[in-house]
Symmetry: C2
Subunit: 487 residues, 2 copies
C-alpha cells in the first residue's frame, strides 16, 4: 500500500492554503456557503477567493485569477458553471496547485458531452499532477486540520469515523446526525463521480489515518473491483470497514445510475466482495453509524455468545428475538453465575437469558453488580443492557428523603452521574463489549451523559443487538485472517 503522506488524498486533505472559485457577494450561492463553512471551522491557512469581478468576499481579498493569488495554493475548490470547469482546472495546473475538489455537477453522470468534459479534466489532472476529487462531489472534511469545504457547517465534535461516500449528503447531512450521538468524523470524503480519486483510494488513505478507528463507506458501485478487494482486504485486517450498499435492488441500481452514473451489481455479487474483504455490510445509514460507533469505541468480543440484561420483559424479548435473527447465540450461564444472580434479583425475576429483573430493586446493581457477574462468566462474550431514562420520581424520591429541593436535585444529579460512570467502566474493566438500548430520545439528559462518558447506547434493543452482531462478525473475520497468516 501507498504511504499515508504519498496518497493522492493526503495533499487534498492537508492543504496549507485553499483557493475558492464560486464564492461571491451572494451569500446564498453554493460557493459562498462552502467557503463560509471553511472559515467557520477555523481553517488556519490562507483562504483566497478567486472571482473575475469582485474585489472582496466575506471580508477576504478576492483575486481575478489564480495567477494573481500571492502565495502558493495547495487546494482549489471549484463551484462554478460546468462549461468553464476544465479551463479553470488547467489554469490551476499551470499555477502549480496541488489538488482540486470539484463540486460542479453535469459531467460523467450527464450523457456523452459530460463524459468527454470529465475525461478532459482527468487528462489535465494527470498532465499537471494535480490531484482531483470529484466532480459532482460535495467536498471533504478533516477535523484534525479544521478543514471543511462542504456547504454545511461542521457541527459535530472531531471523531474516529473516517468516511468515504458516493453521496455528498451522507457526508454533510451526517454532521448533525452524528452530533446527536456525540459522534463525529475524523475525515469524510464525498467522492462524487470518482473521475480520478475513488473509493479504493479513500480506503487505502483512511486505513492509515491515525485519527480514524473505523471506516464507513456509502457505496453505489465499485469501479476498480480487483484493486478494491486487494486494498480493502489489507485494510480491514487492521481497521474495521463498514459499508452501506444500495445498488443490490433494481430500484436502488437505477437510482444509483442517475445519481452518479454508477453501474451497480446484484446483492450476491457485492455480498461476495464484502465477505471476501471482511467488510461488514449494513442495511441503512443509521445502522452504518451504529456499527461504526461500537467498532470504534469498544473491545471486540471473543465469540457470538450474548447476555441480555433488562428490567422490562418486552424489550428483553425484543432483544432476544433480534439476537437470534442476527446470528448471535444467547449465552448459557454457568451455575456459579446463576447462584450469584439469584442472591440479587427479586423473586419475580428470571435469571435465564434474558436476565429480567421485572423491576429495579437496587439501581446500582443494575448498572454495575449484575453486569459484572454476567461479564465475568466465561460463556459470555458481550452484553446488551436495556436502559431507560430514570423517571421524574427519582427527584421526588430524593425530595422525600431530604425535604430540600436543591439538595434533592443535587442528589438526583449525583445518582445519574454514578449510574453513567458505572456503565462506562464496564467494557474496559471486563474486556468485553457492552451496548445499551433505549426508547428514550438521544436528547434526553441521561442519554446525553452516557454519551459524554463514551457509553454506546442506541435507540432500540434491535439496533443495539444489530451493532453487537456486526461487531462479532468483524471479530470472527479478524480471527480467521489471523489463522490464515499463522498469527
Amino acid at each position: 500500500m501507498i504511504e499515508y503522506e504519498e496518497s493522492p488524498l493526503y495533499r487534498i486533505m492537508h492543504p496549507r492554503s485553499v483557493a475558492f472559485w464560486g464564492a461571491s457577494s451572494n451569500p446564498m450561492g453554493m460557493g459562498s456557503v462552502q467557503m463560509s463553512s471553511l472559515l467557520a471551522l477555523g481553517f488556519e491557512g490562507p483562504v483566497y477567493p478567486v472571482h473575475p469581478k469582485e474585489r472582496e468576499i466575506q471580508g477576504l481579498k478576492a483575486y481575478a485569477s489564480i495567477a494573481d493569488v500571492p502565495g502558493p495554493v495547495d487546494l482549489a475548490v471549484l463551484v462554478i458553471p460546468t462549461r468553464i470547469v476544465p479551463d479553470i482546472l488547467e489554469q490551476c495546473g499551470k499555477a502549480g496547485v496541488k489538488g482540486a475538489i470539484v463540486t460542479t455537477a453535469g459531467f460523467g453522470e450527464k450523457g456523452e458531452e459530460g463524459k468527454a468534459a470529465q475525461q478532459r479534466m482527468v487528462e489535465i489532472s494527470e498532465k499537471y499532477d494535480l490531484k482531483l476529487l470529484g466532480p459532482n462531489c460535495l467536498g471533504a472534511v478533516n477535523t484534525a486540520e479544521n478543514l471543511n469545504t462542504t456547504f454545511l457547517q461542521y457541527v459535530a465534535p472531531p471523531g474516529f469515523i473516517g468516511m468515504a461516500s458516493q453521496s455528498g449528503s451522507f457526508v454533510t447531512q451526517m454532521f448533525s446526525y452524528l452530533n446527536g450521538f456525540g459522534l463525529g468524523f475524523s475525515q469524510a470524503i464525498s467522492v462524487g463521480n470518482e473521475a480520478a480519486i475513488d473509493l479504493t483510494d479513500c480506503i487505502e488513505y483512511l486505513g492509515q489515518c491515525p485519527e480514524t478507528k473505523v471506516i464507513a463507506l456509502y457505496v453505489e458501485t465499485i469501479r476498480r473491483g480487483a484493486e478494491f478487494i486487494k486494498v480493502a482486504k489489507e485494510v480491514s485486517r487492521i481497521k474495521p470497514i463498514v459499508a452501506y450498499y444500495v445498488g443490490g435492488s433494481e430500484a436502488g441500481r437505477n437510482a444509483a445510475l442517475s445519481h452518479t452514473g454508477a453501474l451497480a451489481g446484484p446483492d450476491e455479487l457485492y455480498d461476495g466482495i464484502f465477505n471476501q474483504c471482511g467488510i461488514i455490510r449494513s442495511e441503512s445509514i443509521a445502522e452504518l453509524f451504529d456499527i461504526c460507533w461500537l467498532l470504534g469505541a469498544q473491545p471486540l468480543p471473543k465469540g457470538d455468545k450474548i447476555a441480555l440484561l433488562t428490567h422490562s420483559g418486552g424489550p428483553g424479548a425484543s432483544a432476544a428475538d433480534a439476537a437470534d435473527r442476527r446470528g448471535l447465540t444467547l449465552a448459557q450461564f454457568s451455575e456459579k453465575t446463576k447462584e450469584r444472580l439469584l442472591e440479587l434479583v427479586p423473586h419475580t425475576a428470571s435469571i435465564a437469558n434474558p436476565v429480567d429483573l421485572t423491576f429495579d430493586r437496587k439501581p446500582q446493581d443494575y448498572v454495575e453488580t449484575l453486569p459484572g457477574i454476567l461479564l465475568e462468566d466465561h460463556g459470555v462474550d458481550s452484553l446488551f443492557i436495556y436502559l431507560m431514562s430514570p423517571p421524574p420520581r427519582i427527584v421526588k424520591n430524593f425530595m422525600a428523603m431530604f425535604d430540600d429541593p436543591e439538595q434533592a436535585k443535587a442528589m438526583a444529579k449525583q445518582f445519574l452521574k454514578s449510574q453513567c460512570k458505572s456503565l462506562a467502566a464496564l467494557p474496559s474493566k471486563y474486556g468485553k463489549p457492552v451496548v445499551g438500548g433505549t426508547f428514550s430520545p438521544m436528547s434526553d439528559p441521561f442519554m446525553q451523559q452516557l454519551q459524554e462518558r463514551g457509553v454506546v447506547v442506541l435507540p432500540s434493543p434491535e439496533r443495539a443487538v444489530t451493532a453487537l452482531s456486526a461487531q462479532a462478525r468483524y471479530a470472527k473475520f479478524k480471527e480467521e485472517m489471523g489463522e490464515e497468516s499463522g498469527e
Copy 2:
C-alpha cells in the same frame, strides 16, 4: 361481536371510581406510584386508597378494607404481595366491585403454585362477575377518561392509537416515546398473564372505541387461536391492526416463555394467522408505531406505485432500494408529468424516479408544486419526500435581505411555517399518502412544527418507505375483503 359498552373491558376502562391496594406512605412503592399517576392525569371520580394501617395516603383518606369505602367502586387496582391477592379479590367481589387490574406478579408465569393461585382468581372473577385484567400487568390508560393506572405518568397528548400489549413496558415506556413524535394513545392495555381478559377481547373492544383509529399489538403468543382469527378478521376490515411479534425465533420464544409463560409459535404459523386476518406485521416496536402513525393519519393508497422526491442523491437511492425490497413499485411518470417537472428543476436534476433536484432552487417548489405534479399523476399512489431541517443560513439569508435581525428571524419563522403548511395540505388535497423521511432529530424545531401540523415524518428514508409499504399492504387487504363480500 359484543357491543362496546358490554365488553368486559369497557367497565375497567371507564370506571367512575377507583380503589387502590398497595399505595402507602412510601412514595416510591409501586402502588403509591401507580396511584399518583392516576391523580396526576386528573381522574375525575373518587379515588380510594385501601390500606390496613394507614389513614391518609397522598392527601386522600385511606380505608382499612373495601367494606369501609363509602361509595360504590367500579375499579380495583391491586399492587400487593402475591399471596394475599386472591383474598382481596374475593373481598372486592363480595363488595360489588365491577373490575380489577392486578399488577402483582408471581402467578401463571411462576410454576404450579402460581398457576393454581391464578386459577383461583379466575374462579372468583367469574363467581362475582368481576372483570379481571392481569395479573402481572402494568395497568391501563384511557386518555379520554383521564385514566392511567400504570406506574409512569402519561406525558403524551391523547391520540388515536389503541394498544393491547403482552408487555407492560411497551405500554408505559411508550408514553414518552410516542410524545417524541407528537403521538399518543387513545387507550392502552397491558394484558399481563391474560388470566381472563386477553388480546382477543382487547381487539374486539378497541375495534369499537371511537377514539381509536388504528390498533397496535405487542404479541408474544395468541391464546385462543380460532377466536382471535374470527375477531381480528372482522375488526381489521373496519380498522387497521398492526402487530409486533417476537416469538418467531427460538430465543424470542424462550424469552416470551419466561416473561409471561407464553407458548409462542414459529414465524410461518404466525405469519399465516396475521395474513389471514389482514394484520400488518412489523419487525420492531419503532416500526409498529411508524406504521400506526401513517395508518391513523392519512388516506390509503390505491396501489403500490410510489414516487420519491429528494434533493439529495444518497437518501433518494436509499429510499428507492428500501421501496424495492419492501414490495413497492417505483412509479413510471406520464409524459405530461415529466414535461411539467422539467420546467421546474435545475439542469443537474434527474426526473426519473427518484426525482432528484440535486439542490433546492425554490424551496416552495419542493414542498408544494413538485409534490403536486407527482401526486396528480394517475400512475402515482403515494409519495415519499426527503426532508432536512433548513440550515441556519436561512436566517442569514433573510438577514442579508432585511438587515434587521428581528425582521430576519420573523421572516425565517414565516418561511418555515409556510413550508410546514404546504406539506401538511398534500395528503387531503390529493387523497394520497405523503410521508417525509429525515436524518434530523424529531426534537428539531422544523420537525416539531411538521408534527404539530400532522405531517408524518420519520427518522430515515427507510422507515418512511417501510411505513408506506405496510399501508399499501393494508389497502390491498381491504380491497380484497371488499371484493370477497361483494362490496
